[in-house]
């Protein structure tokens, strides 16, 4: 068995040999990254972390040289304003931290930061994977703090909390208070009344009983007025919009029980059910709280995904080059875009030429050459050449922003499937209210003293509590299960909808393919080993930053190249041992391309003719074929912004019959809407900015962890480890979840139908009804937890 890395617990590749001393023993590590992190932890005297932790840490990334530079932009004042609250010298910020796996991580980060001079207060929240930080902004810069966290293997970024999150948090606290109060009071009232019920105190005289009633009333009143207030508000809201929600019968039952209890106590006659009332409220609140906190957690997790990395630009101000934020740029300003940088805003090239990668915007992956006078779009990547751009539209009016606006619109028109339980409980509630009224009238004729309690028992026993729990409990268990498998669900009911999906749309670049060129074939007529040509090509391409060059990275480049030249959109050339070699497109060659090489797209020539041809394609992700096979029962569609021949070949390789090429974000949106108009339930899988709107429009959407921020913000499900095979697991769990929901609903209805005649006949007193209701809810919850496995 191979040795495991002491830091991250992964297998150590045999050729690696990294060691350091931790806790007095020599430990081995899988990579220089993990070793450096462990070193940093030990050197700071924090090695107790390894003592405390209950989980392995994430594998540390290799040290990036550009990291410090990247973090530097967080020192810009205009960025700080958005996230940081400042009082005099003290600044406060919320950070999202990835890599936190157990409580010891929180300890480690706090201790590590506490050592920095200038840190005033630091608190790490392990369950939400966040930290709040107060520091002295005269002594310390934010970038220093962030790089200090990077050193021990965590990644911290400022983030934008979702708008609802503050409300969620407030509600969560209110829930806890109501729940706590109801719980404590239930215990007290139960203690008094159980004694009375079962004669534990021996004979109790009427006066003492009366005293107990008054105490119970006193203790129940806060539960009734404070803890249960949410039910009344929700019932009122429902009635005002002319619907009967579950809270209507609850409110009626609570009201009757309490008021009649008050009369009985005051007049010293009749029965009181304060203990049942308290317990009823307590149990209801437990289920509501569980449901709410599951949603709160999902909201936190999805906000953590939206790490904020602002786009910067280099502004040309006379002779000076100033780094500024992209969103502060104005029309007519000049911006410099170097090779490898993102074009920050829409504009016109006024100087220079370059090759742009617009994959993020169009999905098309080949480079496009742009010259002076051409328009460039924000969000495209400049791969080659230096451009001076005149801004034609500020960021709010850029194409990029328009795509994100399209996404917001699509989000608001997204079809919503009303959940089965909600529809059903509508009718159920009306029926229960009717039956309760009728039984009351009938019982008035039979035994007027019992009539009220029969009615209350009916309302409590048939409380559709188990019915209300049926869906959320199953969903939250299934979501927890998926979370542990690396699938993040941002919207709980997405799972319910997945079970209905019959039309699947797949994006090509970056989703089914890896989104980079790979060498798939080499045709050389001269019978020499291929490796000879690979090395020649690699030697020339090592000076180029074109995506094609990266395909040759894996080969050695033993030859010295002089006089390297690159011609935009055609290819590269250079001298090796005095001979001129050219590598590039067919039009770049000085000779006729032989017939045998016609399938190739890149050629290598020397002075004496074409040596060989290479076929470079965007490699398919390994699990693609198996995935498509497993999706046979659905209508699978490939929707890509790329040109037709490429899309067709990918579709053929994977066995997809329906494919659409050269689709703009609007076209894609239209395609999805058409499918929806034909009553298909659409699942969309995509990753680019151009997929943002479709992901928002589709009934359910899935994106990859490596996808663009825009895609992540509109998708319902994120595959954190980029493994497409997880799709099958999602489908499987969604199907299991659906069965569980059906079972739950079946049980809840069955129980209610069974108990109703008993309650109508007056065989059920309110306290039995409460116990029956809670047992039936409990069975539903226990059944749901089986989804965790």
């Amino acid at each position: 068995m191979p040795a495991k890395c002491f830091h991250c617990g992964l297998n150590i590749p045999p050729q690696f040999n990294f060691h350091t001393n931790v806790l007095g023993n020599r430990q081995s590590f899988c990579c220089p990254g993990c070793c450096a992190v462990a070193d940093a932890i030990v050197n700071n005297g924090l090695e107790d972390y390894y003592h405390y932790r209950s989980e392995f840490a994430d594998k540390a990334s290799e040290n990036e040289d550009g990291l410090l530079q990247k973090l530097k932009i967080f020192d810009d004042d205009s960025i700080l304003q958005e996230f940081v609250e400042s009082h005099d010298d003290a600044s406060e910020i919320q950070l999202t931290i990835s890599g936190i796996n157990c409580a010891a991580c929180g300890w480690l980060i706090e201790k590590q930061l506490a050592k920095l001079a200038g840190i005033i207060k630091v608190g790490v929240n392990v369950s939400s994977r966040r930290a709040s930080l107060t520091w002295n902004n005269k002594q310390l810069k934010l970038s220093q703090i962030l790089s200090h966290i990077e050193k021990i293997g965590y990644h911290a970024k400022p983030f934008q909390p979702e708008q609802h999150e503050a409300a969620f948090r407030q509600e969560n606290k209110a829930f806890l208070k109501r729940l706590g109060l109801a719980g404590i009071m239930t215990m007290q009232v139960m203690m008094l009344n159980i004694g009375v019920f079962f004669d534990l105190f021996g004979h109790i005289d009427a006066q003492t009983k009366q005293y107990f009633n008054w105490i119970s009333l006193l203790l129940t009143t806060p539960v009734m007025l404070y803890s249960a207030s949410e039910f009344y508000i929700s019932a009122m809201r429902g009635l005002r919009s002319r619907t009967f929600n579950m809270d209507v019968p609850i409110t009626v039952a609570l009201g009757i029980t309490y008021i009649s209890g008050v009369f009985a106590t005051a007049q010293n006659t009749g029965q009181t059910y304060f203990e049942s009332l308290c317990m009823f409220v307590f149990l209801l609140l437990i289920s509501r709280y569980l449901e709410h906190s599951a949603r709160y957690k999902a909201a936190q997790a999805s906000a953590n995904m939206l790490e904020y990395m602002p786009t910067t630009a280099t502004l040309i101000d006379g002779e000076l080059l100033l780094p500024v934020l992209a969103k502060s740029l104005k029309v007519e300003q000049l911006v410099l875009v170097k090779a490898g940088e993102l074009v920050p805003v829409d504009g016109i090239i006024i100087q220079g030429q370059g090759q742009l990668d617009q994959a993020m915007l169009t999905g098309e992956f080949d480079l496009i050459s742009k010259f002076t006078g051409d328009k460039v779009l924000a969000g495209s990547l400049n791969q080659l050449g230096t451009l001076t751009i005149k801004v034609t539209a500020s960021l709010q009016h850029s194409t990029l922003h328009q795509i994100s606006k399209l996404q917001t619109q699509a989000m608001s028109t997204k079809p919503r499937i009303a959940s089965l339980a909600d529809q059903f409980s509508q009718y159920f509630v009306v029926a229960v209210l009717l039956i309760a009224c009728i039984s009351y009238v009938v019982w008035l004729q039979i035994d007027p003293s019992e009539a009220l309690w029969v009615m209350v028992a009916i309302l409590i026993a048939t409380c559709p509590c188990a019915l209300g729990l049926a869906t959320p409990s199953a969903l939250s268990c299934a979501i927890a299960n998926l979370n542990s498998k690396g699938v993040l669900l941002k919207r709980g009911d997405a799972l319910e909808q997945i079970a209905l999906v019959d039309w699947i749309g797949l994006d090509k670049t970056g989703t089914l393919t890896e989104g980079k060129f790979t060498l798939t074939q080499c045709i050389n007529p001269r019978n020499q080993p291929d490796i000879h040509f690979f090395e020649l090509a690699a030697s020339i391409e090592q000076y180029s930053s074109h995506p094609i060059a990266r395909a040759f990275n894996q080969y050695e480049s033993p030859h010295t190249v002089t006089n390297f030249q690159s011609e935009m959109g055609k290819g590269v050339s250079g001298y090796i041992e005095g001979a001129l070699y050219k590598l590039g497109a067919a039009t770049f060659m000085d000779f006729q391309v032989p017939k045998s090489m016609q399938t190739c797209n890149v050629f290598l020539q020397s002075d004496c003719g074409i040596l060989c041809g290479f076929l470079l394609t965007d490699k398919l992700r390994p699990q693609g074929t198996a995935l498509i096979k497993s999706l046979k029962p659905y209508s699978v569609n490939l929707i890509s912004g790329d040109i037709a021949p490429i899309v067709e070949s990918v579709a053929k390789q994977l066995g997809i019959n329906n494919w659409l090429a050269e689709q703009s974000p609007q076209d894609k949106l239209h395609t999805i809407k058409q499918a929806q108009a034909k009553h298909h339930v659409v699942l969309m899988v995509g990753d680019g900015i151009n997929d943002g709107p479709v992901l928002a429009q589709a009934d359910v959407s899935i994106t990859l962890g490596a996808g663009s921020d825009l895609a992540k913000s509109s998708a319902d499900i994120v595959l954190l480890d980029n493994e497409l095979a997880k799709l099958q697991i999602i489908f499987m769990i969604a199907a299991r979840c659906k069965t569980k929901i059906k079972q739950n609903i079946g049980w809840a209805i069955g129980y209610n139908v069974l108990i109703l005649p008993l309650a109508v006949m007056g065989l059920l007193s309110p306290w039995m009804a409460v116990i029956g209701m809670s047992v039936s809810s409990l069975i539903v919850v226990v059944n749901s937890t089986r989804l965790l496995k």
Binding site: G45, A104, G106, K177, Q188, L219
Partner: protein, 67 residues
């Protein structure tokens, strides 16, 4: 039996204090992170400032929890 006329009001008083403490705990974010603070008592809070750790100090968290 007459003692209950004193004891029960006393119990109610204690319960109201308990509820007050609970509300205060919720308000001061004590229930925000249940994963972390459950085990934070086991972690050593006062690490030595500069000197590297000695063997006996390493054991300290375990000893503490034994006591």
């Amino acid at each position: 039996m007459s003692s209950i006329y004193v004891l029960i009001p006393l119990a109610i008083l204690l319960v109201s204090i308990a509820i007050g403490v609970f509300f205060w705990a919720v308000k001061s974010n004590q229930f925000e992170d249940l994963e972390r603070h459950g085990s934070s008592i086991l972690f050593d809070d006062d690490l030595p400032k500069k000197t590297p750790k000695t063997q006996s100090q390493k054991q300290s968290p375990l000893n503490k929890s034994d006591e």
